[in-house]
Point group: C2
């Protein structure tokens, strides 16, 4: 069952010419006679010859393979992102070596090392949410494999990264709520160590202070993103004397847990309390309680952008200490009007 691919050597043998002649004939080298070219091409077709990409890339010290490491493809955001990456990759004749970290830094490292051994030409990664040391990644970059971070990117400036401005989206979101008359705006944020959480919190504070509202930390809760964590957070918000009239959830998954609990507590979702969120999952319109508003982060576009950025990084045309920081825009998507209930 071992692969039996024809080689230029066999073609050369059958045609009684040298290997180099076959190679050049197939590449339409000007110095090869036209009859020879035709004989070679004819036989190549007949034998279903296909160049051995492995051999070529081995010689050229490239692989035309990009490693892609994502936390979990079960999240719609990442499954969309990889589609964008793949689409762009196909366009540039690259293929995708795929791995998930499942938000475990140890697995993440193992996957990366394996990709390094495979000699991928570059790596696109969205960090596991528990990763805080990326020094080994910098080493890999120094060893000659460029890395582009996307969405879950490190704070530091000396990396290539593609991300969207959650800080700004959050301000937009609060402003939207404000313009609809909501004043008691709560937030169920993610773990404090995440950049994503920090951006949300800062945007939240900034927006409130722009509106001359004081930041009431009773309205600010966090969740570890588990159902239990979110339920606890929501419970606290609901127990407040002067409870919130609007709740911003970390993302649509948190939103679903929060609204599920609130509903069970007799809250009329989006009537008694307005719920808004991030991610804009496609499943949203089928859920029992869609958010009034969700921030669309265009994972597909981020994926495409990440691929284009790594290609530029691989070309290495940039200055030695230049790093790409690509910001992709977001949009507020309104759902509330046509939801099922």
């Amino acid at each position: 069952m071992s692969a039996n691919h024809p080689t230029i050597k066999e073609i050369a043998l059958r045609l009684n010419v040298s290997i180099s002649t076959v190679s050049r004939a197939l590449h339409d080298h000007p110095r090869i006679g036209i009859k020879t070219k035709e004989r070679v091409k004819e036989l190549a077709r007949e034998m279903k010859y296909e160049p051995n990409a492995q051999a070529i890339f081995f010689k050229q010290q490239k692989t035309a393979v990009i490693g892609v490491v994502l936390p979990s493809i079960k999240e719609e955001f990442f499954s969309q992102a990889i589609s964008g990456i793949e689409a762009a990759a196909t366009q540039y004749d690259y293929t995708i070596l795929f791995g998930q970290s499942h938000d475990d830094p140890a697995i993440e490292k193992r996957v990366i090392e394996s990709m390094k051994r495979q000699r991928v030409d570059g790596i696109i990664i969205s960090l596991s949410k528990n990763t805080n040391k990326i020094s080994y990644l910098k080493e890999i970059e120094t060893a000659g494999i460029p890395i582009v971070f996307f969405d879950r990117v490190p704070d530091q400036p000396d990396v290539h990264k593609v991300y969207c401005d959650i800080y700004k989206s959050t301000i937009d979101m609060v402003n939207w709520l404000y313009s609809r008359g909501y004043r008691k705006i709560a937030m169920i944020n993610g773990p404090a160590n995440l950049t994503a959480s920090r951006e949300r919190l800062e945007g939240y504070k900034q927006a409130l202070s722009q509106k001359k509202m004081k930041v009431d930390m009773r309205y600010f809760e966090t969740t570890d993103l588990t159902k239990e964590g979110t339920t606890t957070a929501m419970k606290k918000l609901l127990s407040l004397k002067n409870g919130p009239t609007a709740v911003i959830s970390f993302n649509d998954y948190v939103h679903m847990d929060a609204t599920q609990y609130a509903h069970m507590q007799g809250i009329n979702i989006n009537k008694d309390i307005a719920f808004v969120s991030y991610s804009n999952l496609s499943i949203t319109d089928y859920t029992a309680f869609p958010p009034l508003l969700s921030v669309e982060q265009y994972p597909y576009g981020q994926g495409e952008q990440a691929m284009e950025t790594i290609i530029r990084a691989m070309k290495g045309e940039h200055e030695k200490d230049f790093f790409y920081h690509e910001e992709v825009p977001t949009t507020l998507v309104i759902h509330g009007t046509n939801h099922i209930r």
Copy 2:
């Protein structure tokens, strides 16, 4: 920015020994002196030498890479499946070259050809729903790259495949409904050309006739899996004089569209009409109208099984005309009791 990996050649040069000595020392060859081994290993560590997997596999005419082609990773079924594939791959020291067909046979073929050029050691594929010619895949297999189909598999017996018994699941499902007193059981099936659809239909017919019920084709509709197709099908069912008391949907996505429409028509979901389905999406419990019952097809397990099967196929220990047909079990998962509404 080109990769600069140390090679055994450089180690040999620095140590004034031959390349072969370095290679053997690193592999603990018995004929290499102990001091030499230590000197070599020491320097290798120091230089952060890592064997060039590309070179090794090139020489061995292998890649340790498995191509995985899925219709669309946005479907939870496939995103779970690839996790299973990846987990098993990691265990056996294989990596995953990934591609989506987006249910387009032309793209599917392009992806496969590209993987062939990359000389993957094997291919795991779940067919695009529009694919009907797999002859070119048989050719690739003949050329020496084993192929394992999973979930969306061809009918023919002369292929390796991993799948679950939807025929049997459907019978179980109808029996479950029957035991709950439902007698007017409708089905919204998928496109007739899909094996998956045929199995559902046959199971449906078989179950009904086992219960001495006649198959009423007024209760049988199909959808092209678009929202419109499903809505039309549901509309027809609702317009019947003696309408169904239960509806079996092709999968949870169809189920969501069907129930969304039925709800808008004033049907009390799972009270007026019972809805059951296939896939058992994790999102189900957050949706407005979860199915009473959904068939769990264990995509993760199917993925693992597919990986194990391709590894066996690559070993080629089987008889020349033997093909693996691995059936993985399904389960009926009950939701109705704790759904939100």
